[in-house]
Subunit: 124 residues, 2 copies
């Protein structure tokens, strides 16, 4: 039995960072965010490269909005979508905490090589 | 009609980066990865802080393994889980592409403030 018990959260009650990661777990949504780096676009402009229906584009946009990665404008009926990149900073910071382990495989190889005896030929 | 049409991928045929983001979209799995930074652990050690059944822990571990974030050892029955942080580098690099937009809101505020007339009191 553990003193510090962390209960699993029920599905649907996701924390903000989980919403961001879930929104990014789709290549179409990631491509939409990359497209939005060029500036705000309407739903039809955003959907054009994907051969996707308006409702399908809107559904992806709602996932991105819920994660705080996109904001919708109030310009008449077009409601252009705008990139909100602040949550991306949290994603980068979270991943950066593992930076020391990214190249660990090579570090381990270096350690292994250091334990190897010198090449016998060097002693000749 | 667009010249470059990108078909949406069917569900279940996820690309590697989507598998990584999906694996990270859960606070329990993120906590498990943080725990694994201290070194390899068995399934029961990994599950202890979460008050979670062995099968539930194994299910989370399979999601992490499929994403390439965890490797399982071959030590007798214990099969300790080890962190594999290489995919985290891709996550960080992907998010980093949005760095110029992280503080954009403040940049825009600066631009706006620069267009404001000087305080009338300064003219008195």
């Amino acid at each position: 039995m553990s003193t510090a018990t962390l209960a699993a959260k029920p599905a649907g009650a996701r924390d903000p960072l989980s919403l961001v990661f879930a929104a990014l777990a789709d290549p179409t949504r990631r491509a939409m965010l990359t497209r939005l780096r060029s500036g705000p676009v309407t739903v039809s402009e955003l959907g054009a490269p994907f051969d996707m229906s308006g409702p399908a584009v809107s559904k992806h946009l709602r996932v991105l909005e819920r994660a705080g990665l996109v904001a919708r404008g109030r310009v008449a009926q077009s409601r252009p979508a705008t990139l909100r990149a602040e949550p991306m900073k949290q994603v980068a910071e979270w991943a950066e905490e593992f930076r020391e382990f990214w190249d660990q495989r090579y570090d381990r190889l270096d350690d292994y090589l250091r334990t190897m005896p010198d090449d016998p030929k060097d002693d000749a």
